[in-house]
């Protein structure tokens, strides 16, 4: 008997698809399939009813008006936040991060309720954060995250949530701090990989899992309950060059390396 396929629920890519985050679903499914683990992407558009039993849920980035539509849509399915936090692993990106939080206050001062899956709150920032960003990730074994941020929010984390990492270059959750993203429950210092539901959220596009395969494998390991074997590099031969150019000073995984003072972490153009 073959194992049931890992189901990846891609929520509202029609509404929250502006910054191409649906690619995260493709990356997750392929990285399972390449390891012989069956996987399926369940695309849930605004016309559909969301499925309950997904192993992973994905929420991407979108424009402001679309984001508030998504908030109203999600509110119509109150069981969904429970599933996203207690039985599944959830990745929220950009608008997805904000939607997973407690509330979002727009430029006109109107407060839109979020799902409340993460203890964080978002206000409209005075300016927009746009650009390449590097984040030292707190999740075990993930290293440096690379991505492109493009948002006008200022997100403040509450006590019940940890940042996904610290910004090394670029933009974090809000203009004043270095915290980037959010993780709940917080990563344990002596973490071993095991089945663990929870929420990981970030502002990074790229899509984030295309640029950061270690983060993809971290999420997948939590779903399947064990660490996944390394993939043959020839599956994605350009990945090494992508990491080299986007993270020019290396992952520094376990080495504690820092880039020299005054050097740019992004390649010169």
């Amino acid at each position: 008997m073959s194992a049931p396929a890992v189901s990846i629920g891609l929520l509202l890519p029609d509404v929250l698809g502006t910054y191409s985050d649906a690619g995260n679903a493709v990356v997750l499914a392929r990285r399972l399939q390449w390891r012989g683990i069956p996987a399926e992407v369940v695309t849930v558009t605004a016309d559909d009813a969301p499925p309950r039993g997904c192993d992973l849920y994905l929420l991407g980035g979108g424009e402001d008006t679309a984001q508030y539509f998504a908030a109203r849509w999600l509110a119509r399915h109150p069981w969904l936040p429970t599933a996203m936090t207690t039985t599944a692993v959830t990745l929220g990106v950009c608008a997805g991060l904000q939607l997973l939080g407690r509330s979002m206050t727009d430029r006109d001062g109107h407060e839109h309720p979020g799902l409340g899956a993460l203890d964080l709150t978002t206000w409209a920032a005075p300016g927009r954060a746009v650009g390449e960003t590097l984040v030292r990730c707190r999740l075990p074994g993930v290293g440096v995250l690379t991505g492109f941020v493009n948002h006008g929010g200022a997100t403040v984390l509450g006590a019940d949530v940890a940042p996904l990492g610290e910004v090394e270059h670029g933009h974090g959750n809000d203009p004043a701090g270095t915290a980037e993203g959010a993780v709940s429950p917080a990563p344990l210092p002596d973490d071993v990989v095991r089945a663990r539901p929870g929420v990981v959220a970030t502002y990074l596009h790229g899509p984030v899992l295309a640029r950061n395969p270690a983060l993809a494998d971290h999420l997948l390991a939590r779903v399947v309950g064990h660490a996944l074997p390394d993939l043959d590099p020839d599956r994605v031969p350009d990945l090494a060059a992508l990491r080299r150019t986007r993270v020019p000073h290396g992952d520094g995984r376990g080495t504690g390396t820092h880039r020299p003072e005054g050097t740019s972490p992004c390649p010169a153009r």
């Binding site: 509404v15 191409s20 300016g127 060059a241």
Partner: protein, 482 residues
């Protein structure tokens, strides 16, 4: 961490092509403080334009540039009112939108040519400096066709007081620069609102365009198609979900091309706020199998329709739609329909696009692709099985964020030799590997091209890669001819 706070800034809304007007080294004596003239200070404007033309001539002579913007840069630096002065007394048409500006403006210039001389920024320099250069080159042409970058529409429209603005489509493009497509639509909306006497010719099939043109007085709606619908799942006006009838199915049935549009199809509508596809005054029909000669543009009310045969020398359904938009605009401006159609049919090449250029053992057809909607339209131009080279850069004019590569349907690339190149070749390569498309990767486009089988190759390239390759191909052709 250093560099976090101080790099937060308001979005850059100017200088998108990296060709801002600032920073031009001019001698101190020409830097006379001028206020924007309204075209009434002809003497100074005339001198400024003359100085610009001298600079343009020097630029060409010294091989520093093609002169397509330098004339305008110098003239505008000397006299901010130069554009208004040059536009005075002409019938000016501005062509804007995300995709198809250059091609449609060429088709429109062709359509108008039978009715008089046309000044036209044919090379695609689509900001104020390019407009000045084009108008200065043909001082006495009664018509002017100017393609204008969406974010520069306010400036150029303000100076030229156009008789008509053509709005093609609004889709995601360079989001690092504009943040949101809807913001661009809101900007365009304000421009049209500020020009109540300008005729707007706009695409009825794209909800963002319709919303943007909503403040225009008596717009001429053209059913020009909208193959890419993923920026308009929710209503641009109220944010609720748009209902689509037929449109979606038609689009997928057409293989990612354009919906065949008729006036009676509802297409799309928003029940909560009432924004809906307006009834088009112009649409087009074709008979299967698709052939360039089989199209008819149809105009008018039901029962009183007039048809014009549409012949276009350009490939792809998207260019039939562009030709119909050009026809509709020319006819709206009073040009005889048959004469306009004949002019449209003369356009066979558009600023380096569509024609085959020989380089080494390859014959290359160059296509500009800078966003997902453009990719969708370009797929329609590809011959099955023909090798493809895709070149992706991420310079300022391309857009710094290449996430959009993941919006592309890459399945049509399967089963043909594929090469990727450019500054972001690795990102595209990763995308293709996850999409199951075998490919070879090279940093240099010409080196990657050399590794493809001899013969015809379709090259899809982002803005700066397209421009560099166009120059490279022209050089290779000159060398071959010599």
């Amino acid at each position: 961490m250093e560099g976090v706070q101080d790099t937060w800034a308001a979005p850059t809304r100017s200088g998108p092509r990296g060709r801002g007007r600032r920073g031009i080294p001019l001698p101190r004596w020409v830097r006379q403080p001028r206020t924007a003239s309204d075209g009434g200070r002809g003497g100074w404007s005339r001198a400024a334009v003359a100085a610009g033309r001298v600079a343009g001539g020097l630029s060409r002579l010294t091989g520093l540039g093609g002169g397509s913007v330098i004339v305008g840069r110098v003239a505008l630096a000397l006299d901010p009112g130069a554009l208004a002065w040059l536009a005075r007394g002409r019938t000016v048409v501005l062509v804007s939108g995300t995709n198809g500006k250059t091609t449609t403006s060429h088709l429109l210039a062709g359509a108008l040519a039978g009715a008089g001389a046309v000044a036209h920024n044919a090379s695609g320099s689509n900001m104020a400096d390019g407009a000045v250069t084009a108008l200065a080159a043909r001082r006495h042409a009664p018509w002017a066709v100017l393609e204008v970058d969406e974010l520069h529409l306010a400036e150029v429209a303000g100076a030229t007081r156009p008789a008509a603005v053509v709005l093609l489509n609004l889709t995601r493009d360079q989001l690092d620069r504009v943040s949101e497509v809807r913001r661009t639509a809101a900007d365009v909306r304000r421009v049209l609102d500020a020009h109540p006497t300008t005729t707007t010719v706009a695409n009825a099939d794209d909800p963002l365009t319709v919303w943007a043109a909503g403040t225009a007085r008596s717009p001429v709606w053209v059913a020009a198609g909208a193959g890419w619908c993923r920026d308009t799942a929710s209503c641009p006006r109220c944010g609720e979900l748009l209902a689509r009838e037929d449109g979606g199915a038609e689009v997928s049935a057409a293989g990612g091309g354009l919906a065949v549009a008729t006036p009676t199809r509802v297409g799309w509508s928003c029940a909560p706020c009432g924004l809906a596809r307006p009834r088009p005054a112009w649409w087009w029909e074709h008979r299967a199998p698709m052939r360039a000669l089989a199209h008819r543009a149809v105009a008018g009310e039901a029962g009183e329709e007039a048809t014009v045969p549409v012949r276009t020398g350009l490939p792809g359904r998207v260019n039939v739609a562009n030709a119909v938009v050009a026809l509709a605009t020319a006819v709206t401006l009073g040009v005889d329909p048959e004469r306009a159609a004949a002019g449209v049919a003369t356009v066979r090449e558009v600023a380096g696009r569509y024609r085959l250029s020989r380089i080494g053992r390859h014959r290359v057809r160059l296509v500009l692709v800078k966003n997902p909607a453009g990719w969708l339209a370009a797929l329609d131009l590809l011959d099955p099985g023909r090798p493809v080279l895709v070149v992706v850069n991420d310079r300022e004019a391309d857009g710094r964020d290449v996430s959009w590569l993941w919006d592309l349907d890459v399945a049509p690339l399967e089963g043909r030799p594929v090469a990727v190149a450019g500054d972001r070749a690795a990102d595209l390569g990763v995308r293709l590997s996850y999409g199951g498309v075998d490919h070879l990767t090279g940093a240099d486009p010409l080196a990657a091209l050399a590794r493809l089988p001899a013969g015809e190759v379709d090259v899809l390239a982002t803005y700066t890669a397209f421009s560099a390759l166009r120059a490279e191909l022209a050089r290779a052709e000159r060398a071959g001819a010599a």
